[in-house]
Structure formats: structure tokens, C-alpha cells
Amino acid sequence: MTDAVADLVRDGDTVALEGFTHLIPVAAGQELIRQRKRDLTLVRMTPDIVYDQLIGAGCARKLIFSWGGNPGVGSLHRFRAAVQAGELEIEEHSHAGMANRYAAAASGLPFAVLRGYNGTSLPDHTDTIKPITCPFTGEQLTAVPALDLDVGIIHAQRADRQGNVQLWGQTGVQKETVLGARRSIVTVEEIVDELDDKPYSVVLPRWVVTRVCEVPGGAKPSYAQDYYDRDNDAYKAWDATSRDEAEFDKWLEAL
């Protein structure tokens, strides 16, 4: 993973680490911090504690997101402080808008269309939300641009020795993150001889994944279905670490 991050993520890149509260690529995110990546445009529907860490560590110039919180616990204090201090540029969407931006990227389209944002204050502050008119009905809808991802990073349950990746359970926008990015890194719980059937599994064939790295526990403290549950105490403990800048600095030094 150290090599994959060093080889594939450059300062200034637009990078998405996805996993919708399940299979969050935490270890890969912390590797970005260790390698002191800078000026990243970080993308994620639900920036949670690993994004709080990246922001607190100064890796991010900009955040593109739709919900920033410590899920089930409360706020992200490093994120909140950075925004309130004007130190982090933000581009803010709804989940539906972000999901469609990923889907457009995976589809090789410059934009996606949805019913969304009408009447909200989001278009007043986010210039990547524009009206579009249906050429058949004249109805006005909303367009959002495809995400322009240099690197997509996800965590999956496993891969086979050829590099085919398999993930299952609630798999969020992970397929779109890999298919929508120029380069991709997938960390996995384990590498196995052969993949077998799993309910609702997504397989990303080897030829669409740039690099697969075996990183057991790479999603901790989040969930990896059939491997481990969420470590809720870690989520709660993060609240205190993140709230106090000195505590955060101590955490960062120890990383």
C-alpha cells in the first residue's frame, strides 16, 4: 500500500476514498497522511473520521462532499474548524447529486441529470449545480458535472491472485469510484485463491483496477461485513481527540 499510494497519488490530485459507512478505506487514508500528500481535492459523500484526520493533517485544499459528520456520534471538529476558519474550500452537494456525479464519471459523460436541489440554497453557493431543460417535455431539471477523479480508493473484502476484486453487502458508490477514476487503489482484507459467490457482490475485474493491496483491517474502525463490525468506541473517542487541537496533534504525531 505504501508503494501504491506513493506511485499513484500526487500532490494536487483529486482523490476520492469511498465507502458509505461500510468498508471505509481508513488505512489508505492514513497512508496519505503519513506520506504528507498536499493540496488534495478530497471527494467523498460522507467525509467522516478519516477525512477529519486528513483535513486536520493539512492534506486537503478542497473538499467535495454531501454530508460531513461522525456518523451516529456528532460533528467532525477538524473539518468544522477548518471550514469556520475559512481554511478549507468546500463544494457542497446532496447525496443524490454526488451519487450521480460518480455515476456520470463512471459512464464517461460530462454531466448527469436529476430531480434535485430545486428550492434549496445549495445552488446559491455551489456552482456545479445548473438547470437543464428536457428537450422533449420542456421540464426543468438539474444538471451536475461528472466528478473528475485522478485517483479512486476503496476497501474491499477480498481479491483473487489475478487481481479481481470482490466486495459485498452495502457497496455504496465504490464501483463508480473505481470506474470513474483515472487510477485506482483497492485495499482488501485478504487475497484468496478463488472468489466464490456472495450475495449482492460487486466484482471489479482486474483490468479496471490499477493496484490491489492486501491490508487486513484496512477499514477499521468501520465495518467490513463478514470480517468485523464497527468499533463504536473508536468513533466516540475520536470526538474528544478531534475537538482539542493539542490532542489532535498528539494523535497525528503518533500516527
Partner: protein, 248 residues
Amino acid sequence: MSSYESDEMMSVEAARQLREVTACFVGIGLPSTGANLARRTVNPDLVLVYEAGAIGAKPPRLPLSIGDGMLGETADYIASVPEIFNYWVQPGRIEVGFLGAAQLDRFANINTTVVGDYANPKVRLPGAGGAPEIAASCGEVIVIVRQSPRAFVERVDFITSVGHGDGPGARERLGLRGKGPTKVITDLGILEPDPESRELVLTHVHPGVSAEQAQEATGWDLKLADELKTTEPPTQEELKALRELVAA
């Protein structure tokens, strides 16, 4: 009558609203508690849809987050997140959406984005998540929020999710196809939009709460329904089911 907390009253009342509902879009926190309680009381067949992809989840206990493995494991089906929003929420397939709010105004517009100015916020909140499209497209929306002058404001600082906009006809003009918020369940009572003005009026107070208390906890001049009712207190069965659910 047993003693109970105001949170419990809110969850019980939320569950009761789901008696006749087929499918409900659920967030985490009080909405999740209310919807899961409904499955254990008034509506065992209630379909719970979570934005991370689980459709028809039957969690044996309250999930810690929407990524909880038991949601996927017990679901009838798991969709990707783009599919959840495009195929399931957007066409109005889901009858009820449960939302919370940091600020709420007299037309039930919701703010979960910032307190203060957007560029220089006093408090930066988590943001929109799935709420704007849930508010736009679910058949109706039930808001669950504690009532206080800080939360119930004359005008929200940011419209994250549209309630009834600036009043009559606003949703139609905006092309929003769901009915919008039909009930706001608070720790003090229930507010509903007036059919004419679309302004929220107090229709119920919870047992032991006075209309004046509710008015004092509201940042606008809260009107009372012609017939102000008192909510049924939680029954023994409701409280038992709720406490078992929360303890599980």
C-alpha cells in the same frame, strides 16, 4: 400511566404515524428508532429503506450507522447508492421520509447545513446528505426534532431541504412532487401545515405540556389548531417494545 422520557414520546408518536405505510426512508437517530419501533408494534410489514442501499432491512437491534452489516444481511434487496436515489427515491416510490433538522421555519423548511452566513458560518453542520431529495420526492415527510427557539426560527439560515417554501403553491412551482412535511413531531407536541396557508400550526401537545410552553419554544408566533388535542401517552406495550429495542 407509566413515566417516560420526551424522546420516548417522540419515537412512539413517530412509529404510530407508520401504521398504514408501505415503505419508509430511514436515517439514523430518532427516525431510525421510530421506524424500527413501528415494525415491532403497529406495522410488522413496514419496509425500511436506508440510503446506503438496504431495502426492506429488518435489523434485530438499532443500527449504529447506515453501514451496519445487519441492514444488508436482513434486507430484501441491496441497491447501489446511485440506484437508491435514482430508482427508489426520485420516482416517489417511498411513501414516507423521516427527517431531522437543526433549524426549521414556519413553512417547515429545514436547515442542516450552517448556522449563520454560509461563507463565514457560526456553526458548520454536517450538510444535506440525502435530505433534499427525500424532502422533494417521498410521498410525505415527517420531521422529528426537539422544539426550541434556536431550532424553530422565523427564517432558516440555509434551506437544505424544502418544506412548504414560502407558502401556498411553492412546492408545485418548484416541481416537487411529494406532499412535503405533513407532520413535525417534537418533544412538546405535533405541528402540521395549515391546509390553506401551509404554515405550521400546533395540533397536538404531549401529555403534561401546555400550548404556551410550545409557543415559548418557537421562534415565530406559533398558531394553535382550532381543536388542540393531546397526544395519547405511550402505552405499556409501546414503551416495552421501545425499551427492548433501544437496549438490544
